[in-house]
Every structure is written in structure tokens, then in C-alpha cells.
């Protein structure tokens, strides 16, 4: 064999082994989708990726079994609220920490850093009593407030601060010369220059809220208030055994839109995670 043939063979072998490695990453998605189309009995029959009969009605039954449309909407609007609030609050504080001089800034940073160390599980018990005292159990407010002000919000603040610090100051100084206030400089100059950081924070925050499970589990009890992760875990028969065909149809409905956006904006999303992973 010539060197060129060797190279081709090498390439083919690598690609084949990568394809084999990819199986456990792809297979669950395919199996989830195909099982969502199967009947309750076929699910336990001979396994096959293609259903013998396509039960489209599973996807209708999902909405009848519990208020799934309402639950879907809950997840969307909560995730959007958390994202919007986090962007504003984190970029405001991040800008002040990056650009303004004030006594106590170092101490404030130190306090905020400490938040990054503490998992939500540590504060969930007192937060439960706090939320109950505020009369907010079984509402969506804790699912918005806790992520915005918890460790995730602090991480977003740091991400924004790091980005602002690295920006060239000249434009902002020119803005000052033109008579902009601090807020004006933040809004008209610093934020437009920080689109990559804002996009990164938006992406990871949206997904963080969308995937949140512990907080909804602790704070929500009404079916129509459930968010998607909680709703998905709730497709069971009266004895608590999972109704797989419905559960997997519902899971497909929850997962596929996110996957579609991910495939379209793959680079942006991966970079956002890399940014938060390295700096956060």
C-alpha cells in the first residue's frame, strides 16, 4: 500500500471509531423519539427503532393526561423572565464592579465569590421557609427569584465584569465627554460592545432555568403550575409506574426544540459554555 492509501485507511478507521463512540450519545435521543410513537404494549415488545404503527395520538394524549400546554408555557415564560432579569441585573452590577471606583468594591467581590462556592442544596431548606413566610410557595416567583439572585446570577455578574474589564476604555471616555451619565455609558456604549458576553449569559441562563428541577420540586404542588422537568417526571399510572409511551412522547416535545436551536446555533452555544466554564 502507498502512503496515501495508508492515510485514507487511517482516516476511515478513526471516523468509524468516533461513530461507534457516538452511539451512546445519539441513541438515547433516537430511542426516545421512536418510543414516543409506539403503543404502550409495543414499547415492551421486540425492540425496533422504527415503530410498527406510528401512534401520533400519543402526542395528543400527552396534553390530555395533564395540562401539558400550560406547563410548557410556564417553562418558557419563567426561563425568559429569569434570562431577562439576569441580563439586566448582572450587567449593571458587573459594569459597576468593572469600571467604577468605590470603597468596599473588593469586599463586595469577595462576598459574591463566596456565593459561587455554595450549591443550591445547601440553602434550599432555609429558602423554603423564607418563601413560605413570604407566602410564595406554589407560585412561580421563587423559580424566578432564586436563580436570578443565587449562585447562577453571581456567576453571570462575574462573566459580565470580566468582559467589561477587557473592553477598551476610549469609547466610554468619549461618551462621558459628550455628557452621557454612567447609566448612559452603560446602556449606549458598554452593552452594545458586549454582545458576545450578553449572548453567552443569555444562553446559559435560559438553559439553567429551563432545566431546573430541585426548586420546582420543592416549591410547586399544583399541576397547572408545574414546569417541564417536573411535568415530565409525572407521567405515571395510579400505582406510580411510568407510562413510558406518554412520558417519552412528552420528553421528545420538551427536548427537540432545544436540540433544534442547539444544532442551528451550535458554535455560539458551545462557546458560551466554554466561556462560563473557564471564567465562572
Amino acid at each position: 500500500m502507498t502512503t496515501k492509501q495508508w492515510r485514507t485507511l487511517n482516516r476511515v478507521l478513526w471516523t468509524v471509531s468516533l461513530l461507534i463512540a457516538a452511539v451512546p450519545f445519539v441513541f438515547p435521543f433516537l430511542w426516545m423519539l421512536s418510543s414516543g410513537f409506539k403503543s404502550a404494549s409495543e414499547i415492551f415488545g421486540q425492540p425496533s427503532l422504527i415503530p410498527t404503527v406510528w401512534h401520533w395520538e400519543n402526542f395528543v394524549e400527552v396534553f390530555q393526561y395533564q395540562p401539558f400546554a400550560r406547563q410548557y408555557f410556564n417553562s418558557v415564560y419563567i426561563a425568559l423572565s429569569v434570562t431577562g432579569l439576569t441580563l439586566i441585573i448582572a450587567s449593571l452590577a458587573g459594569y459597576a464592579l468593572a469600571r467604577l471606583r468605590f470603597a468596599g468594591a473588593g469586599l463586595l467581590m469577595l462576598f459574591l465569590v463566596s456565593a459561587l462556592m455554595v450549591p443550591e442544596e445547601v440553602t434550599i431548606v432555609p429558602n423554603f421557609f423564607l418563601i413560605r413566610w413570604m407566602g410564595l410557595t406554589d407560585t412561580h416567583l421563587p423559580l424566578i427569584l432564586l436563580p436570578v439572585f443565587g449562585p447562577h446570577g453571581v456567576m453571570a455578574t462575574f462573566l459580565m465584569r470580566q468582559y467589561f474589564v477587557a473592553l477598551p476604555k476610549e469609547l466610554e471616555e468619549a461618551g462621558r465627554m459628550d455628557g452621557l451619565t454612567t447609566l448612559g455609558v452603560w446602556w449606549k456604549i458598554a452593552l452594545p460592545m458586549s454582545r458576545p458576553a450578553l449572548a453567552a449569559v443569555a444562553i446559559i441562563t435560559f438553559l439553567f432555568s429551563w432545566n431546573l428541577f430541585l426548586e420546582p420540586l420543592v416549591f410547586l404542588s399544583s399541576l397547572e403550575l408545574f414546569t417541564l422537568p417536573l411535568a415530565l417526571s409525572n407521567f405515571t399510572d395510579p400505582y406510580g409506574a411510568p407510562l413510558w409511551h406518554l412520558q417519552l412522547a412528552a420528553t421528545s416535545l420538551a427536548v427537540l426544540p432545544i436540540l433544534a436551536v442547539y444544532i442551528i446555533a451550535q458554535r455560539q452555544i458551545v462557546e458560551s459554555f466554554a466561556m462560563s466554564g473557564v471564567k465562572g
Partner: protein, 309 residues
């Protein structure tokens, strides 16, 4: 962390007599950070102090009586409750299984995918896809795939003549199953961190070594691995901390069973607080978790500082 960048010109605009520009800047800064500070105080700092207080109380929600018991909850955990050590053991096994497996796979994938070739984006997209998927969805699907007789994994094993175990119901296998499925879910994250690090290594290094006759393995061992060391250390700490926080994955896949075989610390806290209503004991557990994560984080900061130098 220092307050660099302090040379920016102070704000113009209207002037309030008696208020120096410096003062003004400080007031603006406190106003801009106030939502963060107030929210932080209410939903984080307050609860953190509260959990320390609770941890020293005997307080069952059902009896509605709260009595101060000092460190009894901690001594209960450490010396009386057999559960606790089983849970700590499970948490350590979970971390000890997950971290090396995750990192080895992440590094292997990163080495394959750090350089452009036809299909590289395709593969990166696939290996990262579970990271953006909700942990709940991932756990549900894998629980389905790993059922005893009827599960797809066992059916496939059967087709090649292997009699697969009831993965999530047998004590020996359940832990392995939750570890491996969690690794598949999260390995993409470490993969991209490794890819980013690999791409900063100049190609000349490798080419020079290759010219001197080094094999691929030697290049990896003598050139790439040492240069990756800082990244490896940080990924190791981040992944270890992450493994102590895992709750939803195990809650949904095994419910902590069988025979508490997969009951880890984060789950144990939830169980004590929200299923058994033992608020005081759960709070003591939360503080123990806090101390563990704090120690790991301090290690991480120390490593980062060393790396900056």
C-alpha cells in the same frame, strides 16, 4: 479581582453642590450593584446563616417544636446514623468513578477533535448535545433504556448472547449505571474545555518533536500532557464539585436505591428535609456539604493563582 481600571474620567452631567465626583461615582456604583446586593442578602446570605442556626436545632416540621441541641445533629451524623457513612461512601464512590472516567473520555475526544477535519463539527455537536439536554429528560430516557428484561440495552446485549443485569435494581450495577450515564451527559463540557486548551498549544512544538523521531505517544506524554496540566487540575476540581451536587439524575433514575446504594449527599439532604421533615439534621448535612465544596473550591482558587504566576 483587584479594582483595576480606575482611571476612567468621572461622570459629567449635572452637579450637586457639596457632592464630589468621587462621592458621586461611589453612590452610582452602590446603586447599580444594589439589586445584586439586596437579592444576595435575602436569598443567599440570610439563608446561609439560617442553615447554620437550624443545624444546631432539633426541629421536625411535624412536631413543630424547635429546641436548641448544639452540635448533636453533627454527632448524630458522624457517630450514630449508619446512613450517613453509607451516604458519604456512596458520594465518594460516585465522585471517584465519575471524575476519572469523565476526564479520560473528555481528553480522548478532545485529542481526536481538536484539529479541523471533515466531520469535526458534526462529532463535536454530537458529543456536546447531552450537555444542553435537561438532566430530567436524560435520566428518564436512560431509565427506560436500562430496564431489566425489556430495556433496549439488555435486548441488544441479549442479541449478542449476553444476559444483562437489571441495571438500576441491582446494588452492584446501579451505581455504575448512574455514573456512566452521567458521564455521557456531561463529558462534552470537559471536552470543549480540553479542546480550547489544546488549541492554544503551538503546532511547532509537536512538529519539532516529530522531526526528532518521537512517536505519537511520546509527543503526548512529553509535550501535550505537561502543557495541559493546569487545565487538567482545574477540570478535575470543577468536575469533583459538580459530582457532589448531582441530585436530579439520581433522584429520577434510581430514587437513591436499591438499598440506598445510590443515595448521595445532595439527595440525602433533600430526603431528610422534604420527605422526613428533619430540618435540623438536614441543615447539619447541608453544612457538611458546604464545607466539602468550600474546601474543593479553595483548592481550585489556589491552583488558579499558581497558574496565573
Amino acid at each position: 479581582m483587584s479594582r483595576a481600571n480606575t482611571t476612567s474620567k468621572p461622570a459629567r452631567g449635572f452637579r450637586v453642590p457639596g457632592l464630589s465626583l468621587r462621592r458621586r461615582e461611589a453612590i452610582e456604583a452602590w446603586l447599580m450593584t444594589s439589586p445584586t446586593i439586596i437579592g444576595f442578602a435575602i436569598f443567599f446570605l440570610g439563608p446561609l446563616i439560617a442553615v447554620m442556626v437550624y443545624s444546631m436545632a432539633e426541629w421536625n416540621l411535624l412536631s413543630r417544636k424547635m429546641t436548641f441541641v448544639g452540635l448533636a445533629n453533627y454527632t448524630d451524623a458522624l457517630t450514630v446514623n449508619a446512613d450517613f457513612w453509607q451516604v458519604m461512601g456512596n458520594s465518594v464512590i460516585f465522585a471517584a468513578g465519575l471524575v476519572p472516567l469523565n476526564m479520560a473520555l473528555a481528553l480522548a475526544l478532545a485529542l481526536c477533535l481538536s484539529r479541523p477535519f471533515f466531520g469535526v463539527v458534526f462529532f463535536r455537536t454530537i458529543f456536546f448535545a447531552p450537555v444542553v439536554t435537561s438532566a430530567v429528560a436524560w435520566a428518564i430516557v436512560w431509565k427506560f433504556l436500562l430496564q431489566g428484561e425489556a430495556g433496549a440495552v439488555n435486548q441488544m446485549l441479549a442479541s449478542v448472547g449476553i444476559d444483562g443485569p437489571n441495571w438500576l435494581r441491582e446494588p452492584d450495577w446501579a451505581m455504575a449505571a448512574v455514573i456512566v450515564t452521567r458521564v455521557i451527559k456531561m463529558v462534552g463540557l470537559n471536552m470543549i474545555l480540553y479542546i480550547a486548551a489544546l488549541q492554544t498549544i503551538p503546532r511547532d512544538y509537536e512538529e519539532a518533536a516529530r522531526l526528532e523521531g518521537a512517536t505519537h505517544w511520546q509527543v503526548f506524554k512529553m509535550v501535550i500532557w505537561p502543557l495541559l496540566a493546569p487545565t487538567t487540575l482545574i477540570i478535575m476540581v470543577i468536575t469533583t464539585i459538580g459530582s457532589f451536587k448531582v441530585f436530579d439524575h439520581i433522584y429520577l433514575m434510581t430514587g437513591g436505591g436499591p438499598e440506598n446504594g445510590t443515595l448521595v449527599l445532595a439527595f440525602y439532604i433533600y430526603q431528610q428535609a422534604f420527605e422526613f421533615f428533619e430540618v435540623g439534621y438536614a441543615s447539619a448535612l447541608a453544612i457538611i456539604m458546604f464545607v466539602i465544596v468550600l474546601a474543593l473550591t479553595l483548592v481550585q482558587f489556589a491552583l488558579r493563582r499558581k497558574q496565573v504566576r
